[in-house]
Symmetry: C2
Subunit: 326 residues, 2 copies
């Protein structure tokens, strides 16, 4: 029996879970990521919750996998995040192995989300799959022939930063015209705040959900209002969807994968997002060329990266057992 | 000694070559593709030249590989070209095997070009490589872990048809805003003809190279004038290069390959094309994210697909010898 621990360290939430050999979640412990406490606080939370889970079960735990919400150098098993103070060049893999006393492995959340959906979610049965997470930012995990495509610099799948326009604002990465500045949780929230400043009466449902002030508008409040049918909120989501639709065509024309799986908070808008995405893909697609790449929503919702971390841990436990090199 | 035949059937030229085990070209026979004669004429040319080459040598010939300048269903070994009358759904692989009496295999020219550069040209030593051919149209062959990425519908690498603009003319594929309508041999020739109609005196060197009339302007005449320093011709190539630069950033951010190899006639503009490509990549690239993907020019020039066809044939000959399934 190979039971494993899985950890998901994200910018908003963190999670520690215990999984069985079949990738079934047995126990979970979740919390909100503190924006003020730093790395040490987070590591202590992970350590404590992991120990709690291990103590709550009589089952042997063989390995630990972790998803980190930022760039990871997979070969060196280090976080290389430049945007998350305190985490830069941190040997998270080594820390887990030492602290938990388990063979451990870490990857970024896009790759983990892809692996989670590929093994246990909407990617099952595909050979090549692209998981696109649309939350605060946009990232993608690419699986080809069952393996994650990481790229020369561990930077494959940086879909949020493909240049899609000659104009547009400067992205958080410092570049111009990135997809993320047009279509992401941040972009949706920003459009909502712009409407609230220009014409607050047009967006009162979004303001109400947000708590009253423009500053509090988030992508989530815009998406929720859109789901209720609010017309301005819908138009904001639709504008985002048009950019996403063109990005999906780009992905399909370059990789032509079996399946594209859309995850992350914004994807929870469902058909409010997907309908204009498909319309845009028809508009910019070729009438003479038929692609059979399927576009589906993630099945594991916010837990895709955690399930992927569990899959990594199970692979690691299997390798330990058969004596393969890791 | 495994000597093999390689065939390259392109829209402008065709070639048949004899290669040795080390991928060295021993003999070659080339001709211009007729725009009026059809498939049967081309097949007869290939058959006759292949027989001539085989007769000219005492070396045993073990297999044949072919590159076709259009879509190929690799699994079924059939041409699926919709733009080349007479070729649609033609079993070219089977025809070669029957006519030449050799184990045979066919792939599209982008995949063959990629394989050629990967084995014998500018891609040597890389693990993941994208070969981009910029000629009449734009195509890409993607190699990951030594294997061609074909995609679910054999349509991976259709870089010429990524949507890069909301505006722009309708592409030959029927879609809107395709890269190919902004940056390709056709686009460059079209810009040249537009200049010639609006301000013929500004583009007299291009007209002179072309033979005098705007209708005769080709991408080649624009590139040649640009190489001589003609300012309008340079500006046309530079405009194309700006679109190409953004497309390369897209490829790098999605695949982050070890190397991108630029081939095809337009790439022969060299630094006149590459300098503005690199400038655009700096302009739209992130100052905080360093990619080490190398961008280089193809080494085998117009022969990349032929060398790739030879590599396919050598693989096939090797498999026959060891009794592996193909």
């Amino acid at each position: 029996m190979n039971n494993v621990l899985a950890v998901d360290i994200g910018g908003t939430h963190f999670r520690v879970g215990l999984f069985d050999e079949g990738g079934r979640r047995l126990l979970i412990s979740e919390g909100d990521t503190s924006r003020v406490e730093g790395r040490e606080w987070m590591l202590e939370e992970v350590r404590r919750r992991a120990r709690d889970l291990v103590e709550k079960t009589d089952l042997p735990v063989k390995a630990c996998g972790a998803s980190f919400g930022g760039p990871v150098d997979f070969a060196r098993q280090r976080v290389v995040s430049v945007h998350t103070p305190g985490w830069q060049d941190f040997a998270l893999g080594e820390w887990m192995a030492r602290t938990l006393g388990l063979p451990s492995r870490v990857d970024n959340d896009a790759n983990c989300g892809a692996l989670g959906e590929y093994r246990y979610g909407a990617g099952r049965g595909s050979d090549s799959m692209v998981y696109i997470t649309i939350s605060t930012g946009i990232g993608a995990g690419i699986i080809i022939g069952g393996r994650a495509l990481r790229g020369r610099d561990n930077l494959a799948g940086e879909l949020g930063h493909i240049p899609v326009s000659e104009s547009g604002t400067i992205c958080s990465c410092g570049a111009k015209g990135c997809l993320e500045t047009f279509c992401s949780g941040s972009a949706i929230a920003e459009r909502g705040r712009e409407w609230a400043q220009r014409r607050p009466e047009s967006i009162d449902r979004v303001l109400e959900i947000s708590g009253g002030t423009p500053d509090q508008i988030t992508a989530r409040s815009v998406v929720l209002a859109a789901l209720e049918g609010d017309s301005v909120a819908r138009s904001i989501v639709e504008e985002s969807a048009r950019w996403l639709g063109r990005a999906l065509l780009i992905v399909i024309r370059i990789l032509n994968p079996d399946r594209i799986v859309l995850g992350g908070g914004v994807a929870q808008a469902g058909s409010v997002l997907l309908d204009p995405v498909r319309e845009t893909m028809r508009e910019f697609g070729s009438p003479s060329v038929g692609y059979s790449t399927e576009i589906v929503l993630a099945e594991l919702e916010n837990y895709s990266p955690l399930y992927g971390a569990a899959a990594m841990a199970l692979d690691l436990a299997g390798q330990q057992e058969t004596g393969s090199s890791v």
